[in-house]
Amino acid sequence: MSWVRRIANLFSREDVDREIDAELRAHIEMRIEDNLAAGMTKEEARRDALVRFGSRSATKEKVAGIDAALALESLWLDLRFALRQLVRSPGFTVTVIITLALAIGANTAIFSIVNALMLKSLPYPHPERMGAIFARITGGDPFNGRTWIDGSQWEALRDNVPSLVAAVSGGTAAGVNLQAGQRVQYLHAGRISAHYFDVLGIRPAAGRNFTETEDRSHGPKSAIVSYGLWRTTFGADRDLVGQSILLKGEPYTVVGVLPEGSTPPLNADIYTALQPSRDGEGGGTNFEVITRLKDGANWQQADAELNRAWATWAAGRNDRHTGSHVTYYSVPLKQGQAAQLRPKALALMLAAGLILFIACANLAGLTLVRMARRTPEMATRLALGASRWQIERQLWVENLVLAMVSGLAAVGVGYAALRGLLSLLPVGFLPVASVPLEGRVLGFTLLVAVLTSVLFGMLPAYAARKVDLRSSMASRSVSGGDRLHLLQALIAGEVALTVVLLAGAGLLIRTLVHLQTLPPGFNAAGVMTAKASLDDARYHDPAVFNRLLASSILAMKRIPGVSNAAVGLTLPYERALNDSVAMHDGPQAGQDVQTNVVYVTPGYFDTLQIPLLQGRDFNGADGPSTQPVALVNRTFAEKFLPGTNPVGRTLSKNLMVVGVVGDIQLSSGLNPVAPLQNEETIYMPAAGESSNAQRRARLVSAQLDCAHCWTGGGVEG
């Protein structure tokens, strides 16, 4: 056990030093005694002894240094032996390394996502003082999750919760047209309230944040530019602040430029003031809140104020959650941002962990078989006087070498897997700017590698302890009952694990295939789409807007090979507008119901080949001056007008249903509106919207999607 002693020596330095010291002193004393016996004086005897010996402390150090050198040397020897052994069986080595690299690599990739989502702190100062607001609703329609708020609720939060600095943003960044000097550009604009960047702790590199005056309805139009846009479009112009730019066809004054590397949760090229109001957009829960705790306040205090403020707010209006109890609470912003993805990420982590387990079980079996072949070698070494520990140590070192090499390969595999995974996810799916392969992830990989070496090395090491010298030497074969039991247990465990994983994986894949092949309700073959922002002062005039639609559809239809073209506010898989309509028939008669609303031009359903089930499609005559008409989808008809013929019914004031169309998927991914369920939708003519000023404003405040259908060969890729 000299190896252990040497290592132990390195750690119990003091004891060893004391012993060496005592030994050296004894030596000098004995020399002095002999010198005295030879007739020297006391003084001479002492000096002679010391001179002969030289520096005692130097000797002591030399003796101590031996330990470190020996420990390293023996480890080096073991390592070299291990490498030789592994090179001698390349099949085994390569199998183990590839298996482990894949398994550990998968874990590395998933862990880096978990790390970015849950462990890494947000890139803002004092992230622990930042929060998101969650609502817990009990009774009635239970709910527990992040809450979006409307305009009046925002005012209650802003004015009556002194412990928090709060800010809201409006949904996701939307496409807008920017005109700066000679340049015209389509970019993404985010709409944020005053203090949004104060909550994030982001100080503009130039200029300032929005003021409360700018954030009021009809306040001055101002914009804050992201660092990237300032560098590219504005050529890093130092005098940009104060200049006027044309955004959405209207002049905006640039008041600030964000610093380099700032990553707000709402990632956009340019920001404008949200100017939240109580009606229009603010009439619905369209605002997302972020908060920062003020100095000296704590979360309990803030939550109490919040609940008080919103209880007063709810009392002042018809509470939407009658018969249920709502409490609001703050959660750390990090957790709030990742709340939706958390179960998904953890499920993935679990799956990756199971894969690693199976890999370990497989490798344990493989190592055990290899061990069996090496039993004669071990028996020989034992017979030659090697200790069992030396043999076992050799096995451990071999396993560790394998695991470390695999771990290194796994970092590469993990990196590739992570890039692949991220490229599969839709842009903006993860609420973080980047998923780095950083120190913590590498540490995790190292830990997993060491852990696997223990996991798959444990059984072989245990088996090595059982090598029986006599029988192994005599028969040169293995038939130990013990070994057999071990193998059987291992195989049983492995099969059990595999069955669980296989069943899980099979279920997952079948489900995915099923969801993938569900009919989306329209025919995507040969359809090309394009997006343009009509949120522009030029199109506020209904006549101009209608002319634009008509002429662009005509132009698209003129392209050779295009058989059909249409324009819609949103396309399948896109989040549609939400609005309420009053019902006069069916189970909800007399009530307002929420529905998706899509404005389309005639030919929209033909272009996407969405089936017309009943009634008629829109035609060119439907417009502002005629009877307002709408089409409903099948879900709307079945839900709100069951058992009757929807065609000819009236919604709201005098909106007449003229037809029923098939359902389409409203969202990609798996969520309540797609692909297993559908939501009610009504379609209205885009051209008819000029009669209703407010609706028209909302129509043009989003983007219009054009779909053109290509037929025949050639053009389409």
């Binding site: 060496i20 030289g54 240094g65």
Partner: protein, 108 residues
């Protein structure tokens, strides 16, 4: 080619001394080597102890604390089986070295 160096020679002397005397402390080894070589060889006392420690850690020799004739506590060393094997090896190597060096000295 056998491994030959000065450290090897010191090891050989120590191992041989221990095989001849059974067990001995460091000072005793120094005195023994000097006496047995008719004062021709004197071990540098400062380098003896690192060598002893290394051989002990490598399992060639073992040690225990015991009292000397003059009732002083000292660390006594004795040979281990591995040390005996190492001694045979080292003696053979040394013979080779001596033969080799002598052949070179006589080469005309």
């Amino acid at each position: 080619m056998a491994k030959n160096d000065l450290q090897g020679t010191l090891d050989l002397l120590v191992l041989k001394t221990l095989s001849q005397t059974g067990k001995l402390h460091g000072y005793g080894i120094v005195v023994h080597i000097q006496r047995a070589s008719d004062d021709l060889l004197s071990v540098e006392e400062g380098s003896l102890y690192p060598a002893l420690h290394r051989m002990e850690q490598s399992g060639l020799i073992a040690s225990e604390w015991a009292l000397t004739e003059t009732n002083r506590k000292a660390k006594y060393y004795r040979l281990c089986p591995a040390g005996k094997k190492q001694l045979l090896e080292a003696e053979k190597n040394f013979e080779h070295l001596v033969k080799g060096v002598r052949a070179i000295l006589r080469y005309a």
